[in-house]
C-alpha cells in the first residue's frame, strides 16, 4: 500500500516567488488500484508524481510504501519500488541505445548492475515475448535504435520496460498527451491491458475527463494543491465527463 501523509511542497520558500504547490495531501492507494488524477494547470498533479518518484522531496509529510518510509530516498534508490512512464516520448527512453539495450536496462531496475553481459539469447527471447504482448511488431526490431521509433512506439516500449521488473506502483505522467488521438487511444488500451495482466498498482495523470472516467477504478480530482474529490468506481459510474467538468468551477 502507498500512503501519503500530510504532504506539503513549497517552491522558493521564503522568497517573493514562494509557491505552496501541495497543501497537505493525504492519500492511500491500495494494492491493485488504478487511480486516475485530474485537475487544472497548477493543481499539483505533476508535483505529486515527482514526490512519489523522488525527484522532489516534500517540505513536510511522509511517504510510506508497504510501511517503509521512503520520504528521503533519492530517485535511484527507490527505483526498485517505482516504475514510471514519462510524458514526453522523445525523452522517456534511451534514444541512442537499441530496443534490446533499453529493455536490458529496464530488467535491472532497482537491482545491482554487474559485469555480466547485459544481453544474451535467453533475455532476447524474454524481450520478444514481452514486446509481443503489446502487439505492434517491436519484437522484430530488437536491434533497432529507439531513435528510429515514433512517439507511440516509444511509449509502448516504455510500457513494456515498466513491466520488466516488479514494482509497487506504476506512475503514468500524462503519458499519452504528446500523441495524436488515435495513437493515444491505443496506448491507453495497451496500458489498461498491461496493468490488468500484470496486476499492477497504477496512478495516471490525465487532462481528459473521458479518459479519467474510462480507465482505472478510482478517480481523484486536485484543485490548488489539495484533493477535492476522491471517487470510487460506483461514484464514478454515475458521472459523465460533462458532470466532471463542472467540478472544475468549484
Amino acid at each position: 500500500m502507498i500512503e501519503l501523509q500530510n504532504i506539503h511542497v513549497i517552491f522558493n520558500k521564503g522568497t517573493r516567488l514562494e509557491n505552496h504547490v501541495l497543501k497537505g495531501i493525504d492519500l492511500k492507494v491500495e494494492e491493485g488500484e488504478f487511480v486516475t488524477i485530474i485537475g487544472g494547470n497548477g493543481a499539483g498533479k505533476s508535483t505529486l508524481m515527482n514526490i512519489l518518484a523522488g525527484d522532489i522531496t516534500p517540505n513536510k509529510g511522509k511517504i510510506n510504501i508497504d510501511g517503509n518510509d521512503i520520504t528521503k530516498l533519492p530517485t535511484y534508490k527507490r527505483a526498485n519500488l517505482i516504475a514510471r512512464i514519462f510524458q514526453d516520448p522523445m525523452l522517456g527512453t534511451f534514444a541512442d541505445l537499441t530496443i534490446e539495450e533499453n529493455l536490458s536496462l529496464a530488467c535491472r531496475r532497482g537491482k545491482s548492475r554487474r559485469i555480466n553481459l547485459a544481453l544474451n539469447s535467453n533475455l532476447r527471447e524474454h524481450f520478444k515475448s514481452a514486446l509481443a504482448e503489446v502487439g505492434i511488431g517491436l519484437e522484430r526490431r530488437l536491434k533497432d535504435k529507439v531513435s528510429l521509433l515514433s512517439g507511440g512506439q516509444r511509449q509502448a516500449l516504455s510500457l513494456v520496460m515498466a513491466t520488466m521488473q516488479d514494482s509497487k506502483i506504476l506512475l503514468l505522467d500524462e503519458h499519452t498527451a504528446a500523441l495524436d488521438p488515435k495513437i493515444a487511444k491505443s496506448i491507453l488500451e495497451m496500458t489498461a491491458k498491461v496493468v490488468k495482466n500484470h496486476k499492477l498498482t497504477a496512478i495516471m495523470i490525465t487532462h481528459s475527463m473521458t479518459q479519467a472516467l474510462e480507465y482505472g477504478n478510482r478517480t481523484i480530482m486536485m484543485y490548488h494543491g489539495k484533493i477535492n474529490k476522491d471517487m470510487n468506481s460506483e461514484e464514478r459510474a454515475l458521472l459523465s465527463p460533462d458532470n466532471l467538468l463542472k467540478f472544475f468551477d468549484l
Partner: protein, 280 residues
C-alpha cells in the same frame, strides 16, 4: 615523407590513440567535455618517469601512472557531481592544480629516462603499443556490453530516465572520468618512455589532439557500435599524425612544427562546423 617518418607517425599515433579513447569515454559516452586530460597526460608521464629513475620496475611505474590519472579524473568528477561545478570548469581547475602537482612529482621541469629500462624493453614501440591498444579495446568493449557498462552509457544519454531506472548517475560519471583519465595517463606514461623524457608542458593541447583524432576517425568509419568507435579512435589518431607529418614536410606550404596547434584547432573547428552547414 620517408618510411622512417611514416613509422614515427604510426608510433605516436598508436600511443595517442589511447588519448582519443579516453576523450571518447568522457566526451561521447558520458557527454562531459573534460579538460583534465591536458594535466593527466603529463601526470602519467611524470609519475612513470619519476618512478623509473627511482629504479622501480617500468611495468609497475606505468600501472601507477594509470592509477594517478584515474584519481585526477575522480577529482574533476567529484567537483562536478558533488558541488555542481560546471564540467568544463571542474576540468580546468583540476588541470591547473595538476601543473603544480606534476612539478612536485618530477621535482624539476623535465626528466630524461633515455638511458633507463622502459616498458618497451628491446621490443619495438609499435608492437608493444599495438598490444596495449588492443587489450584496452577488448576490455572496454566487454565493459560497455555489461550491465554496468550499459548503465554508464545510459547515464550519458538520458540522466533523468537513468535515475528512474535506479542508476546512480553521479557514480557512473565518476567511474567514466576515472577510466578516461587513467587511460590518458597511460598514454602519457608510454609517450615518455618511448621518447625518453617527461616534460612539464608536454600535455598542452592533449584534449584538442584527442578530439581531432576522434572526429577524424568518426568521419572515416561512421561508427555505430562501441567497437567501431574505439577502432575509429585508433585510425583517427594515426591518420591525424600522418596528416600532420605530411603538412609539415611540404616545404612549399611554409608550415613549421610550431604551427601544429593552430592547424589542429582549425581542423577540429572545421569538422564541427561542416555538419552544421550541411543541415542548412
Amino acid at each position: 615523407m620517408n618510411i622512417l617518418q611514416l613509422l614515427g607517425s604510426v608510433e605516436i599515433g598508436l600511443i595517442y590513440a589511447l588519448v582519443a579513447i579516453g576523450v571518447y569515454i568522457s566526451y561521447r559516452i558520458i557527454d562531459f567535455p573534460d579538460l583534465t586530460v591536458d594535466g593527466t597526460f603529463t601526470l602519467g608521464a611524470a609519475v612513470a618517469s619519476s618512478l623509473i629513475i627511482a629504479n622501480i620496475d617500468p611495468l609497475i611505474a606505468t600501472l601507477m601512472s594509470i592509477f594517478a590519472g584515474a584519481l585526477a579524473g575522480m577529482v574533476t568528477g567529484y567537483l562536478n557531481v558533488r558541488w555542481k561545478i560546471l564540467g568544463l570548469l571542474a576540468g580546468i581547475l583540476t588541470m591547473t592544480a595538476l601543473y603544480s602537482i606534476n612539478l612536485r612529482v618530477m621535482g624539476k621541469p623535465n626528466i630524461t629516462i633515455i638511458e633507463d629500462a622502459t616498458i618497451f624493453g628491446s621490443q619495438s614501440v609499435i608492437i608493444v603499443s599495438s598490444i596495449v591498444v588492443i587489450i584496452f579495446i577488448v576490455l572496454l568493449v566487454r565493459l560497455f556490453s555489461s550491465e554496468f557498462g550499459l548503465a554508464v552509457r545510459a547515464s550519458g544519454i538520458n540522466p533523468k530516465v537513468s535515475n528512474s531506472y535506479g542508476i546512480n548517475v553521479a557514480t557512473m560519471k565518476l567511474f567514466a572520468l576515472a577510466a578516461s583519465n587513467g587511460i590518458v595517463a597511460l598514454a602519457g606514461a608510454l609517450f615518455a618512455q618511448s621518447q625518453g623524457f617527461a616534460d612539464i608542458s608536454m600535455g598542452a593541447g592533449t584534449i584538442i589532439v584527442g578530439l581531432a583524432s576522434l572526429i577524424i576517425g568518426e568521419a572515416l568509419l561512421q561508427p555505430k557500435a562501441i567497437i567501431t568507435s574505439l577502432v575509429a579512435c585508433v585510425i583517427g589518431s594515426i591518420v591525424y599524425r600522418i596528416a600532420i607529418a605530411l603538412a609539415l614536410n611540404a616545404n612549399s606550404i611554409g608550415l613549421q612544427a610550431s604551427d601544429l596547434s593552430l592547424i589542429t584547432a582549425l581542423l577540429v573547428a572545421v569538422t564541427m562546423i561542416l555538419p552544421k552547414l550541411k543541415h542548412r
